[in-house]
């Protein structure tokens, strides 16, 4: 099961991250997970939101460059070694991870991991075969 992630181009300029988040806040869009990739010249804001199409529309209306793409969401026990297990499975299956970010869900004592593998389908298959719970969009949005 694939998860929709939106990425926003951020020019390396004061206030741009705030502006992007402010637009989503005004539109009452809740951010479920977020990470920022930064280089010396620009940044990429990656987010999981319950209404990706709405978020894209409102950001583009405000002249942001936005992309939507598939990522994988998995749940891991919030304990030492949780992430190690997932990466071990992918490593054994020879699957490259492009990036990942994680956040902790207090209620269920679980950690959520959003990751992108070079080949998404191969990543999902390997994780499923390794008995890892892949989260659906609904599950992530309803956390």
């Amino acid at each position: 099961m694939k998860l929709k992630q939106i990425s926003v181009f951020l020019e390396n300029r004061k206030g741009r991250l705030w502006k992007a988040l402010n637009i989503l806040s005004e539109a009452k869009i809740n951010i479920r997970a977020l990470s920022i990739a930064d280089t010396s010249e620009f940044g990429i804001l990656r987010m999981i939101v319950p209404q990706p199409n709405e978020a894209i529309h409102i950001l583009e209306e405000n002249n942001f460059v936005v992309q939507i793409n598939d990522v994988i969401g998995v749940a891991v026990p919030d304990e030492p070694g949780g992430l190690d297990k997932i990466l071990g499975i992918l490593n054994k299956s020879d699957i490259n991870v492009e990036y990942l970010y994680a956040f902790v869900e207090k209620k269920r004592e679980q950690a959520m991991v959003v990751l992108k593998t070079e080949d998404i389908n191969a990543g999902i298959k390997a994780l499923k075969d390794g008995n890892i719970t892949i989260l659906s969009s609904e599950e992530i949005y309803n956390l």
Binding site: F9, E11, R16, A37, E41, F42, R46, E98
Partner: protein, 432 residues
């Protein structure tokens, strides 16, 4: 078809003899009738009698845009006002406008050179010329108009704008020749496409496009989209208007009507004359104009003159497509770079908008070029390495074009100045 075989195909010797005769005449008229020229000649200690050969033109002072502005409005007229029958002005986008005054004979010459230009584009008595250059103080509209009437073609004086009406008339009347700026030709083709007009419903066979800089890539696009032969016309209000030079169907350079306009190429930095096949700034002298003779006008346009035989049979000297302006010419680590070269590289990359800005700095005694381009959906990705690959690809394209490495930075959409009017393309922070 050649409009004036005698003038356009004369031998080089005959041409030079004619040019020298006309040059000595015009220099004498300018000196005797225009205070500005008398003053400048005297300052440089040169007299009309010193012009004995064509090369002697090098002794004469240059005329710049500033000189014309200082003479605003009528200071350079060489005849009494009752002989001036028409005036035009430049747009004044770079400062105060300059005025151009014409006697009846000047207008006849203008019609003659534009008749030659339109004939090069295949115009004859039966053609319908849809003239979308603006009519008014701008020289484009009336210049084409006079040429079309001289030929006896039907001119549709529709002027600029109102695109829906343009395409209606184009279809209803069956216009065969289109005259406008190349960017407007592209705009027309967009609207035709949006209106679902089939290319077969359009009878255009050729277009005479000018009044702004354009590229071979644009020619290809216009020709494909409008199914016509796109030809380049060149001219300046200061000299006469459109009709200083026109491309023939060989499409490898513009023929300058050098029996009326004497061209030179100079190095814009040291003002020394350059020879054929060398790239530099075009300088023009009017050889026959009565109302406002112009001696050695620095056009700021960068081109090359060529004296090769043309397949079309004309012996008129040829100039290359304008590749830049000497006022926006950049010297980066000793290499001459024009914004238009960078623009060409950018336009060659799919998905890149033609909006860009060039920033020149000298951080460690070495020039650095940064080119800012606007990020777009096609260029953007969720992965840093993809964006860096795209950045490298653009840098490679520009390197191929100018021979220098530049640094591409992406900025947000709509954040760079737009190209309508005269956008600031270059920011030089070197404090030279």
């Amino acid at each position: 078809m050649i409009w004036n075989k005698k003038a356009e195909c004369m031998s080089v010797e005959e041409k030079e003899e004619l040019q020298l005769r006309r040059l000595t005449e015009v220099v004498k008229i300018a000196y005797e009738n225009v205070n500005y020229y008398k003053k400048r000649f005297n300052e440089m200690n040169v007299h009309p009698d010193d012009i004995e050969t064509l090369e002697d033109i090098n002794k004469l002072p240059f005329t710049s845009k500033t000189d014309l502005r200082d003479a605003y409005p009528f200071g350079l007229f060489a005849v009494p006002h009752d002989e001036i029958v028409e005036v035009h002005t430049t747009s004044g986008t770079t400062g105060k406008p300059t005025v151009s005054g014409y006697t009846q004979k000047d207008l006849d010459i203008w019609g003659e050179v534009m008749a030659r230009a339109l004939t090069m584009a295949g115009a004859g008595k039966k053609d319908l010329i849809q003239n979308c250059y603006g009519y008014g103080l701008f020289t484009g509209g009336l210049g084409v108009h006079y040429g079309a009437q001289k030929i006896g073609a039907t001119v549709i004086p529709i002027s600029a704008g109102n695109t829906q009406r343009q395409i209606q008339i184009m279809q209803d009347f069956g216009s065969t020749i289109l005259t406008c700026t190349p960017s407007y030709a592209l705009h027309l083709s967009d609207v035709l496409q949006n209106n679902g007009v089939e290319p077969e419903k359009i009878s255009l066979k050729s277009g005479v496009f000018g009044a702004e800089m354009w590229t071979e890539e644009m020619r290809e696009e216009i020709e494909n989209r409008l199914n016509l032969s796109a030809l380049n016309v060149y001219g300046l209000t200061e000299i006469i208007g459109p009709g200083v030079a026109q491309e023939c169907t060989e499409k490898n350079g513009l023929h300058i009507f050098d029996d009326h306009f004497y061209p030179e190429i100079i190095d814009p930095e040291n003002l020394k004359p350059l020879s054929y096949d060398e790239k530099g700034e075009l300088v023009l002298t009017t050889l026959t104009r009565e109302g406002m003779p112009i001696i050695r006008f620095r056009t700021r346009d960068i081109t090359t003159l060529r004296r090769e035989k043309c397949e079309c049979g004309r012996t008129l000297v040829k100039m290359d497509r304008i590749t830049g302006r000497s006022d926006d010419m950049l010297k980066i680590r000793g290499v001459i770079v024009f914004p238009s070269q960078i623009e060409r590289a950018i336009l060659n990359i799919k998905g890149l908008e033609p909006h860009y800005q060039i920033i020149v700095t000298r951080p460690h005694h070495l020039d650095e070029l940064e080119v800012q381009v606007e990020a777009s959906n096609i260029l953007f990705s969720d992965e840093v390495k993809h964006i860096e690959d795209i950045k490298k690809n653009i840098e490679d394209h520009i390197h191929d074009e100018i021979g220098l490495r530049v640094n591409i930075t992406f900025v947000e959409p709509q954040s760079l100045p737009r190209s309508n009017g005269k956008a600031v393309r270059v920011i030089d922070r070197r404090n030279l």
